[in-house]
Symmetry: C2
Subunit: 102 residues, 2 copies
DNA sequence: CTTATTAATCGTAATATTGCAATATATAGA
DNA sequence: TCTATATATTGCAATATTACGATTAATAAG
């Protein structure tokens, strides 16, 4: 029903469409890397909830998690972050200057 | 619980997080302006469904609708499109190059 | 081996989203 | 005024999302 591009764009936007996931990404960037417990303390949602949001971010491959002892170290997947940035920029930078606007 | 910025970003992303709404935006850009019926014919969802998606896009003020006889002419709100682009670019262009990644 | 720590998963309740048929509203034209 | 056209709104069913307590799994430390 929709094009590959439309589905891809929407899928990315959907994952970014929750403030907790934005907060998680911003905190990971700020701290360079962190564990789930850091995010629970920082954001103030329950551990299973944070874990669930991390799972969605991992599914999008915008972050990656590395097991380190009993904890998991999360950081940005820089290559995919750049790809996602490129996909979004391409869409948002469409020149829609239009004198025929109603 | 979340910052103004986080909520704003998530709100924008959430609206963009459905392929029908991406398709609507792309079609409006391509055709410069169109009416609801054009989108129903183009996209293949029922008229109330398209109308509902248009409402969400209007709420975000990324599009605007002008009454023209019995129909409503929709086009991109260029100023707000640019603002949304700026908000997203600022977030996605954060330099997260990081050698301390786990 | 036992216990503590950390994160993931399961189960579930509350809420939100999506899609559409039916209906309402509003304007244009005969 | 009556009818046709275009869109919005309502109501509702199906599905998805969000949040969290309880539990599980996996590793580390004693």
């Amino acid at each position: 029903m929709f094009s590959e591009e439309q589905n891809k764009l929407a899928k990315i936007a959907k994952v970014l469409g929750h403030p907790a996931r934005i907060a998680i990404l911003q905190y990971i960037i700020k701290s360079q890397s962190c564990i789930c417990g850091d995010l629970v303390a920082e954001i103030g949602l329950a551990q299973p909830t944070i874990s669930q949001h991390l799972k969605e971010l991992k599914n999008l491959e915008i972050i990656k998690g590395t097991i380190s002892g009993t904890s998991v170290c999360y950081c940005i997947n820089q290559d995919n972050w750049k790809k996602i940035n490129a996909i979004f920029s391409e869409f948002l930078n469409i020149n829609n200057n239009n004198l025929n606007c109603c």
